[in-house]
């Protein structure tokens, strides 16, 4: 994947180029706005990382001009400015995402990949995400622990899917009920869910996930969180 990096600080740019290349991207570096515009016109890129404070032509102008010729290009704005007004200005100028310096590279990479997923067709779900000893096939709606299938009701499936999608992040009870409501299949076959039902389903799911290296944690007052157990090996 081809990435344009427009950043004027030489040291930071050097680090970013190295990190992106290490992550499998082909990176072109522009040290100022004029070169950035030139490169954007000359090559096709899959995504761009743009600093706002560029010499010659500033980042927002480059972005606005780029939006005219390449409206579909995913652009992430990387900047020291973190005020609300700056954020709004960036998004209004056409940025798809906004990240402030300093940042963690894994987060930058994840966001770029998220932008790319949005624009590119979904890869066939041949890749089954694996967590601990749990294998999860979304297309086939199947879960396997150490290769052995796990018997899940539709609601339990939705719950597990939701928790896995938000792995290591809090899922609120409202999100769970919303997901259940949205899935018609579940509604037809089982009684309508009440909030108290969530605890019951979590309890059932926990039992079924025993030994899978994956556990569901209760976050007091907020919801639930799925995480890989520390000692689970792969």
């Amino acid at each position: 994947m081809r990435l344009l990096l427009a950043e004027d600080d030489a040291i930071l740019a050097d680090a970013l180029v190295a990190q992106f290349e290490h992550a499998g991207f082909a990176v072109e570096h522009a040290p100022n706005g004029a070169v950035a515009e030139y490169l954007l016109g000359k090559h096709d890129f899959d995504a761009a990382v743009l600093d706002i404070g560029l010499p010659m032509v500033d980042g927002l102008t480059v972005l606005k001009n780029a939006r005219i010729t390449k409206p579909a290009l995913p652009v992430l704005v990387l900047t020291a400015l973190d005020g609300l007004d700056d954020r709004v200005a960036g998004l209004n100028a056409g940025a798809d995402d906004y990240l402030t310096k300093p940042f963690d590279f894994p987060e930058l990479e994840a966001r770029i990949r998220a932008l790319l997923r949005r624009t590119r067709p979904q890869q066939p779900a041949g890749a089954a995400p694996e967590v601990g000893r749990l294998s999860f096939d979304r297309e086939a709606r199947r879960a396997l622990i150490d290769g052995a299938p796990v018997d899940l009701s539709p609601r339990e499936w939705d719950l597990l899917d939701l928790l896995l999608t938000h792995r290591n992040r809090v899922v609120h009870k409202e999100q769970i009920t919303q997901t259940w409501l949205a899935d018609r299949a579940a509604d037809n076959s089982e009684a309508p869910a009440a909030v108290g039902m969530i605890e019951v389903y979590i309890h059932r799911l926990r039992r079924k996930l025993e030994g899978s290296g994956v556990s569901i944690r209760t976050v007091r007052g907020l919801g639930y969180l799925l995480e890989a157990e520390a000692h689970a090996g792969r």
Binding site: A15, A80, K101, N168, H172, L222, L225
Partner: protein, 489 residues
């Protein structure tokens, strides 16, 4: 030019350099006093004159009556002055009365006393009275004198005829006149004094009312917060005060601009620092990844930590400058759901808390309780709560529980973050207040920079609320953010 000390002291005491009130009062009252004295003096003289007139009139009457008692007959004079008439003239209970008839003037022919002649009279007017004061044996007397023609001398043939003139004088001591003058004085001066006193009181009230706009202006300035640079309101103030208020407002505007410029500079500097810090962090991360030497790895970790700390400090500095009162003073306010904010920030921080081995959660609100809302600036409140949670995660320690709770207490909204970690050192009771100081750290572990709680307090104060810390039994710390619930109106 320096005045001698005694003069300075006198001036200070009398002119009242420290008090406009006193100065105005002195300027108004001293002339009044002088004028009062002058009026009293003039009144006394006028009183005397009118008293004299009264006395003189009666003296004149007596003089004319007396003159009629002496008639020329042939070459002599016929004096018809019975004893009874004498008694009438002399009988005055208050004063002594003297009389004299003399002809030629000065030659005593009738009377009870030799009386002095009218002074400075060379060619006496006939039948026109003279009034004058004199003294007899230390007694002050008022005299009336009348020159009366009593015929012509039939002189020798060839000699011109000369008029014969008789001088009739009546004198009276001053006692009753003085009494009269005094009575007139009392009757005029006393009311005048009363008038002066009344005027003084009116002047005093007038000065107070006149200077009241100054007092109001002073109150406006004294009652404002130290950071408040909003302009003064010179409404309905008289011209002189308005120009003072305008001058002060200009000064305030200049200070505002200076403060704003400083703040912009700090903000720009902090922003500029971020890029090199990002470069430092990224390069260190690459180096750490590529490194195989364990000793170097340890060093690189420290470099990385230092870079992270620097970045954190810059972020906090920027947050703090944003939290400080804007020179303009106004803050965009919205309805903020504090319960939702707590839940949101807690959720966001759960992954980080888990990495630090901390059980982060939110206390359930009592069933049926409405969400706690406040009127405040959403961005700042978010920063405040974020810093409270961040503080707990950094310092509660592995294995601790951190709980957020939100509830309403009267007209206040309260958000608390409590942990059961080690808490603050109980031997230092002042720590619970000191931790809110800028750059104050209660521990040297970890990579905090000492600004988090200072930010919380700054934001709380801007919203008219407060931030407090208290110990939790048996061990732990509870941080409380209390905000007035201005939605109740």
């Amino acid at each position: 030019m320096s005045r001698p000390p005694w003069l300075q002291r006198t001036l200070a005491a009398t002119v009242g350099t420290r008090s406009l009130h006193r100065q105005l009062l002195l300027w108004l009252l001293l002339p009044q006093l002088v004028l009062w004295l002058a009026a009293a003096f003039v009144t006394f003289n006028v009183a005397q004159r009118y008293a004299n007139r009264g006395v003189d009139a009666s003296l004149l009457q007596a003089t004319r009556a007396l003159s009629r008692q002496v008639k020329p007959i042939g070459n002599g004079l016929f004096i018809d002055f019975p004893r009874a008439a004498q008694d009438i003239i002399e009988a005055d209970p208050d004063d002594r009365v003297y009389y004299m008839v003399s002809t030629p003037p000065g030659q005593f022919i009738l009377g009870n006393r030799q009386l002095p002649l009218p002074p400075d009279v060379h060619t006496p007017r006939l039948n026109e009275p003279y009034f004058y004061d004199a003294q007899i044996d230390r007694l002050r007397i008022r005299l009336a004198a009348l020159y009366v023609p009593i015929g012509e001398t039939t002189g020798e043939p060839g000699e011109p005829r000369t008029r014969q003139v008789m001088l009739v004088q009546i004198a009276r001591s001053q006692a009753s006149r003085d009494e009269l003058a005094q009575a007139i004085l009392m009757d005029t001066v006393l009311p005048l004094s009363g008038l002066i006193v009344l005027m003084t009181m009116i002047v005093w009230a007038g000065i107070r009312a006149g200077l009241a706009p100054l007092a109001r202006l002073r109150a406006q300035v004294e009652n404002r917060a130290p950071n408040d640079l909003t302009p003064l309101q010179p409404q309905a103030a008289p011209q002189e005060v308005r120009s003072l208020a305008t001058a002060v407002n200009q000064l305030l505007a200049a200070v505002q601009e200076s403060v704003a410029a400083q703040r912009r500079f700090i903000s720009n500097a902090a922003h500029q620092l971020r890029t090199p810090l990002a470069g430092l962090k990224s390069q260190t991360e690459i180096a750490m990844e590529a490194n195989h030497d364990p000793a170097l790895a340890a060093r690189l970790r420290l470099v990385h930590e230092s870079a992270v700390r620097g970045a954190h400090l810059v972020s906090q500095l920027l947050t703090l400058t944003r939290a400080e009162p804007e020179a303009a003073g106004t803050l965009p306010l919205q309805r903020v759901d504090l319960s939702a904010l707590a839940a949101e920030l807690a959720s966001e921080n759960v992954p980080r808390a888990l990495q630090a081995g901390i059980d982060l959660g939110v206390e359930d609100a009592p069933t049926g309780a409405p969400p706690v809302q406040v009127l405040g600036n959403a961005a700042l409140l978010r920063e405040a709560v974020a810093n409270l949670v961040d503080n707990a995660i950094r310092y509660a320690g592995r294995g601790a529980e951190v709980t957020l709770s939100v509830h309403a207490a009267g007209d206040q909204a309260v958000l608390e973050v409590a942990d059961n970690g080690p808490g603050l050192n109980p031997a230092s009771p002042d720590l619970h207040e000191a931790i809110f100081g800028r750059f104050f750290r209660a521990t040297h572990e970890g990579s905090g920079c000492g600004l988090g709680l200072a930010i919380v307090r700054e934001i709380a104060t801007r919203h008219g609320g407060l931030a407090r810390a208290e110990a939790v039994a048996p061990h732990g710390l509870r941080l409380r953010l209390q905000l007035p619930n201005r939605l109740i109106n």
